[in-house]
């Protein structure tokens, strides 16, 4: 029988992979994709918690839909920014984007 801990574990794994990707990948596109992983990990948590904690309500599902909407908007803005930066600097490597420092 698959219970809540299994879902939570899956969510944690996905989140950690996402964090690892955000911290280690130098390519901005890959970082955006890793963020998507983290957001989806959260979605799994929300939906699972809804199912096991309050099956009659749809609060978790609703929040998950919100997250998907926000994620889509975020990707749109993020990609637009990356394209704009690429046109300026001919690069999508995050290492190169270090102008704002001491």
């Amino acid at each position: 029988m698959i219970g809540l801990p299994h879902y939570l574990l899956l969510g944690s794994f996905l989140f950690c992979i996402g964090v690892f990707g955000v911290l280690t990948r130098r390519n901005a596109i890959a970082v955006l994709m890793s963020i998507e992983l983290m957001l989806n990990a959260v979605n799994i948590n929300l939906v699972a918690a809804n199912k096991f904690a309050a099956a009659d309500a749809v609060t978790g599902q609703l929040l998950a839909v919100f997250v998907i909407v926000v994620a889509a908007a975020e990707i749109a803005v993020g990609l637009a920014l990356i394209i704009s930066i690429f046109r300026q600097r001919k690069s999508v490597e995050l290492n190169d984007f270090n102008l704002l420092k001491w």
Partner: protein, 625 residues
Amino acid sequence: MTEFILPNAWLIPFLPFLGFALIALFLHRWPKVSAGVSIALIAAGFIFSLFVASAVFSEPGGAVYEFTTRWLEMSGLKVDMGLLLDPLSAVMLLVVTSIATLVQIYSIGYMKEDPGFASYFAYQSLFAASMLGLVLSNNFGQMFVFWELVGICSYFLIGFWFGLPSAKNAAIKAFVTNRVGDFGFLLGILFLQIIFGTLTFSGLAEAVPAYTNMALMVPVAVLLFLGPMGKSAQFPLHVWLPDAMEGPTPVSALIHAATMVAAGVYLVARAFFIFSSVPEAMTVIAVIGGFTALFAATIALAQNDIKRILAYSTLSQLGYMMMAMGVGAMTAGMFHLTTHAFFKSLLFLGAGSVIHAMAGEQDIWKMGNLSKKMPVTTWTFIIGALALAGIPPLSGFWSKDEILLGAYASGHYGLYILGAFVAFLTAFYMFRLIFVAFFGSNKEGEHAHESPGVMTVPLIILAVAAVFVGFVNSPFMHHLFGEFISHPMGIQPHPSSMIMISSSLIAVAGIVLAWLIYQKEVISHLALRERFKGIHQLLQNKYYMDEFYARMGQIFVYGAAQLMFWFDIHVINAFVDLVARFTGKSGDTLKYTEDGQVQNYALYMVAGALILVVVATMAAVSVIA
């Protein structure tokens, strides 16, 4: 009339105050009207005072009328205000209103061409109101208010010609010096309020003699005495009075000779029940008074400015009065205050008449032979000087004699000898002034002219008073003054013909010596000056007291400023600098964490979040465990 005036005695100070308000607000554009209003109101005060005095003196020993009302009430503090009409205040009322009236009439002539004529009379009225309020107060708190008011009037009138730097500085000096004394006075009053819970003289008169904690009463009495020390210019707070002569001469006559400076003596008499129950305080008063009398009299020997000679003479006589209070001869002190008020205001007004005639010249060596040109001024001045010197039967003789008698009878033989010596000096310096200024061979007095009647008539009235006032406490009138003004703790010795004769001889000796030196020139004063050059310099420079204070001020104020400066630079500033440097350095060091690498920032965030998770988990675990 008497029934009306007794409960309405507040009118006596109120009328001059009304005069002040009217002049200041409306009448100042018409100087003559201002002067008329001011004089009419103070004269009305004099008439009211006569009624008050007749009521008070109608009973043997003097009637006492007290009218009190609650001024403000808070938990633990009740402040009364009221009027006290007793022989002491009645005498002061008569002295203040009569002399103020005469001085104001005289001022019409003296201040005639002054552009500040109207404001002069406004200040005069305000002063009269404050002084009368002081005299009528029935408690220390109210008295302190008026005490400060006469102080501020003195400040205004000393600095009346504030265009002159010397007048401005003298006014500031008077004010600051009085602050020193008044600070102690206020502390003393607060102590009285704390210890006895009342400030009325009648309440304190009952409570103080029953109080036995001398360890507390001695400092309280000495603090209270600081007020009279400042106001009556006792050593070492005397330095302001000679400089106060920068004001118009009638002001010097009224405020700085007859009334305000006597307020200190009046206060000691009023609070005699406090001082007399503290023998240590009495000793302090007697010694300071006696020392001031001698100190100032010696300075007067070597001064050349006619007003300054009189100023030091006033200091000396105030010292006399204080000495009388200190030895317990309260009656004699108040009596001398009364007679001194008349003959010293006469002398000052006479000096004013001379200065007026000499177009502002005040150096006695630049006068000379004034007696031919100014007979009225000369003769009234001589009467004043004879009274001051203590020549019988003039007023000064009776009062000065009683002080000497009091010192002798109370066993203060040192102070008696000191007083007798001061009497000799007094006669000497007054007649030095007269022989040089009025009978000197200098021709510069030739173009002088007698002052107008508005100035000479007050002189004549005061001269008559200076002759006859003394009789009220002479054996001829059965010591009437002492019948009314006395205190059970004070002494009233029987007259001694030995002291009377010796003090008269001493005064005559002083006059004769002055005559020999300055008129006959049997002994050349120039040779004397040459022979005792050092002493003469010392006296002429007033024992260098002003320089001493200036030096002390420099050492202490400048030293304190240096200390503060050091503290500011090396402690406060250093601390502030340290904070700034720490902030700057840490910013300088920590700025390298901002390296522009977004992923590093993300790493810090994750690390922080992880730490929070770990801490929260551990907390939760410890709660469960």
